[in-house]
Symmetry: C2
């Protein structure tokens, strides 16, 4: 993954923390909790991390996979842009090892409720991940 090239292609300045965040997220299969990003990227100021996460989210590079107990989990986007965020996948959290992952599903989920206009649907599943199932 060439984070610099990706940033450039999408018209964003190439800065150290942006490259670092993208590479950190790319290096993990799971979504990463804020606290982990904070720790891994502690060479940067906390405010900068905070603002950079906002920008990368806004521009469609990353998304918040889950927010739970005051902690946000971040993951790379696969197909988003500034104008279009489509996260048609399920966010799964393992109750045992606490990892969070994005699961791409084929099932199309349609939900319609009278008198309400629904723009987006988010699904959060919890259970036991394959690694923990195997560890039994």
């Amino acid at each position: 993954m060439d984070a610099a090239k990706i940033l450039k292609k999408r018209g964003l300045r190439i800065t150290k923390i942006r490259v670092a965040i993208l590479e950190t997220l790319a290096a993990n299969l799971q979504a990463l909790p804020y606290s982990k990003l904070q720790k891994d990227l502690s060479r940067f100021d906390r405010t900068t991390l905070y603002r950079t996460l906002l920008i990368l989210r806004d521009k469609g590079f990353i998304h918040k996979a889950l927010e739970e107990k005051g902690e946000s989990y971040y993951a790379l986007c696969s197909n988003c842009t500034s104008s279009m965020h489509n996260h048609n996948h399920v966010h799964f959290k393992c109750n045992r090892c606490s990892t969070v992952q994005c699961l791409h599903i084929t099932n199309k989920l349609d939900l319609s409720i009278p008198k309400i206009s629904i723009n987006s649907i988010e699904i959060i599943a919890k259970g036991t991940c394959s690694a923990c199932l195997l560890a039994d």
Copy 2:
């Protein structure tokens, strides 16, 4: 709604803040953000509110309908107990007026993913609520 009676029936002590929380939530159709509870119940200590919310959640009286941007939204449970939490409903947030409500749906949502054991599924829908649609 007789909060005291409900608490007693479920074996919890009847205290002012418990009654107040249950009545506050019962008085609203929507789920209430923590900040609103905090404000309405400011006559009680913040720690007590925090701990009481934990207890009422644990005992199945209330549930966290949504956690977003660091803010938790709470609502009454309809059929939960200490041992059984079943929230088979959708949590809906209106993007315009920011209200959060629990929508009871009939559609059964089944999701199965290979190699993973799923225990619970939560659905969060966002869009425009009926009141805001009418206000156009």
